[in-house]
Symmetry: C3
Subunit: 350 residues, 3 copies
């Protein structure tokens, strides 16, 4: 664990800021957050899932964050609250505030004279900001990033090193883009003509809303004609592929390695599992949960959890079972034939 | 939609260049392409799929591109042609020509004195061109790109920012490589020896033909001994992995997130779906179509469409059904046993 | 094939260094390794798999490396050894030694005055080394790489161009990181609170052991609280995603495009297939082999091979068969009903 901070807070100071109620000594001070397992007396841990109760019993934490149902399960000074995980996230942010921009353009950065970079923004070493691009107040453009012609970066936004933003794309406020992210590369638009693929110019943009976070090496392609849109509060993990003209609804979270094909529309507050896929041109309703490794091939009109992953087994058993998949229709027909066969010599009518 | 251009064309000027026939007023001029849905009177839209006919009825486009079968479906001035999507791609290229190189090496770029960069090529800020590398006429090396020792970039080729080309790899003419592409990293060659993996030096190259486009963050590994080869006209989407010694035949198109394992050979004019996989050392014939999420585990000797994705369901139903997969062989045996059981007291001979 | 070297060795010189026994003329000299198929008389090839015996018969190689069982299968001068593939790897390393660092910091690199870079280390053009970071003896930081505050790079380690190491991460000795690798980006830690996702600060590090190799565009996220750990000798292929707080045991090899979800623990000497997945919080024992395209959803307590991929078919057949998956539970129930049905006329009560 890193130790960027030497701040300390008493439990009373924490609940004064964040709410919740202290059970036990509210004057206890802590300096950092920790897991129950590795906590030391100067740290505060949390319990969000009762299956970790044994770790609560043995933790060395100076304080813990718990829900009301387990408040009696430990004598350690504790903050009791409705949503321990979210509360913990807020406590952690107290001890680990986001790094602020260090205003200024590094001497090795290359910023076009027509670009507008806010005075309190930071542009790191070897970053490149092209013609007419805009970088908003307090934003950070990490080392080696590229901001193309006319692209707009909002305020309070952080691009970690080696992010690429193609021309004319728009990134909102308080957005975080991790290293290797590519926003606005051409969508996969090709037309077959007399034995050759012709490129379809991709003239839409990518528009990313506020409070979005995008993980390392994720790619979001620009639209073919209209824009690709990532709405406010969307959270994308690493190595996700978002194709041209996709729209992802506000506050949807997508786990790593998922792929959303062209022109698909994903609703708000969806949760999409890792390495899942959504085929092109589909519409996914709000509040849909898609399981890991699941390919969605039809639009989904109502909330719920949808799954389509093959269960794993020992290879020897999988072999025996999987081979039957190629005869499944035949097997079903044979069962139907058996059912139709008269159990008795005389015919039965249906 | 971006608006880089202020060019306008009449329908007559378009058909003079590209063929096709005008129905309606050929003097109508348009300034950009658009979707039927968002078109304005100064734009031209297209209909390539009859399921969008309702949008044709309501579009505000000044002109449309259609096939002969629907020429009577609208009173809007229209270009009638055999392949509306390919025609549209060509019209779009009229309004949105590829950006030309801006000749010269940026002051912040680092070009080795033994490298040969064509006089009309462009080398962007903070790009690096190493010993004896070659950059051909009119090519663009974007900001932050790296061109390794002895690598060769053809003519009219564009590397978007932050592309990496390892030493001695060869990129053809009129190639487009999007940001984050890595060409020529070592293939995954390891040999187990007394409890330790030994690295197998990867001494082949990557050779990319002409008119290839490779999407953002796609990786193509160098060969172990011989070369990895991407033939002319291949189109690779984003986040594809091409392992060492793969050969991809001319004009094959591969959608995002697919993976081709070592020494596999893919034919010409194949279409490979997103997040699909091809196992090592296989041979895939020409004109094969592989569906999204499908793993190919045996060579494919003839054209056709091949599929192997698990159909998704509501999780509750999937659970009930998927559990049976682990008993599928047993189920098949039980059906066989029932079939063998005499339906009547007397024995039946097979 | 590239030809960086003009070294030559006789078979005797090779076996003097690496062991094994020569059959035939030990004075024969070779200058490079090659495949049986493309070998020339000045190269040495190898046969590790008997299915390539026909190629042994027709090869033009000057010498070959073979196992004892096939030593009589060719008249070509040959080195006989226990593990031809590992032996070949070592011979190839003789002819193709890893490139050494070219000591010095390039004029265009940006190295903070508080960073410690070994005198014989190499820092390439436009690379950035931040505050208090350490680069060990003989290591190479490629062009455009970023080494964050307080990060530590061991000795004899090579970062190819455009690698990103976030602050405070630790990379061991003799490690190879290929282009586009991102080490230490924030894990996907979010907590839902009143309709908004709150970010959970990710304050752990990534710690990478010695002799690890990580392929192009692979991402390893920093821990949420404790560290993410890649143990010694681990080999990761391209485009792999390793989530926060994962631990990968020593000498495990993972093929391209696999994803390991948060807090999963993978044992030692595992072999994990391409595009496979391991769900969060699982424990995988040592020596487990996971097949390509397989999702592991439960902990695995014992060595063996585990599989869960859908077998592919021609699309027409897949359609007929796959549709039955949605009725599999019903089919199983129908078979059970048939089995329970009396073979004879009399009724049975339920």
């Amino acid at each position: 664990m890193t130790s960027r901070t030497r701040i300390s807070y008493s439990l009373r100071e924490i609940t004064d800021r964040l709410g919740g109620k202290v059970d036990g000594d509210a004057a206890v001070t802590v300096r950092q957050v920790a897991t129950l397992e590795r906590a030391t007396p100067d740290t505060i841990a949390f319990l969000a899932n009762e299956r970790y109760l044994p770790q609560l019993k043995s933790t060395r934490a100076g304080a813990v964050i718990v829900g009301a149902s387990v408040r009696a399960a430990t004598p350690i000074p504790r903050i009791v609250c409705a949503n321990p995980y979210a509360y913990f996230a807020q406590v952690s942010a107290l001890f680990n505030p986001a790094l602020a921009a260090q205003p200024g353009v590094h001497a090795s950065a290359v910023v076009d004279s027509s670009a507008r970079v806010a005075g309190d923004a930071e542009v790191g070493p070897c970053a490149v900001v092209e013609r007419a691009a805009v970088v908003g107040a307090g934003s950070v453009i990490g080392a080696g990033c590229f901001i193309g012609d006319g692209a707009v970066i909002g305020s309070g936004t952080r691009l970690y090193p080696n992010v690429t933003i193609y021309r004319e794309c728009v990134i909102g406020n308080r957005v975080i883009l991790h290293s290797g992210v590519v926003i606005g590369a051409d969508g996969f638009g090709i037309a077959m003509n007399e034995g050759r693929w012709i490129k379809v110019p991709q003239i839409g943009r990518v528009v990313v809303g506020d409070d979005v976070e995008i993980g390392a090496n994720t790619t979001v392609d620009r639209g073919a004609l209209d824009d690709t849109v990532i709405e406010d509060g969307v959270k994308l993990d690493n190595q996700i592929q978002v194709a041209h003209n996709v729209r992802i609804g506000a506050h949807t979270a997508i786990a790593a390695c998922a792929g959303i094909a062209g022109s698909a529309t994903v609703g708000r507050y969806c949760r999409i599992g890792g390495a899942s896929g959504i085929a092109g041109h589909l519409k996914i309703a709000d509040n849909v949960e898609i399981s890991t490794f699941t390919l969605i091939t039809k639009s989904i009109g109502s909330a719920g959890t949808y799954t389509g992953a093959y269960p794993f087994e020992r290879n020897s058993e999988w072999r025996r079972n999987a081979v039957q998949l190629k005869h499944l229709d035949e097997l079903a027909q044979r069962v139907r034939a058996i059912e139709k066969k008269p159990a008795q010599p005389k015919r039965r009518k249906r």
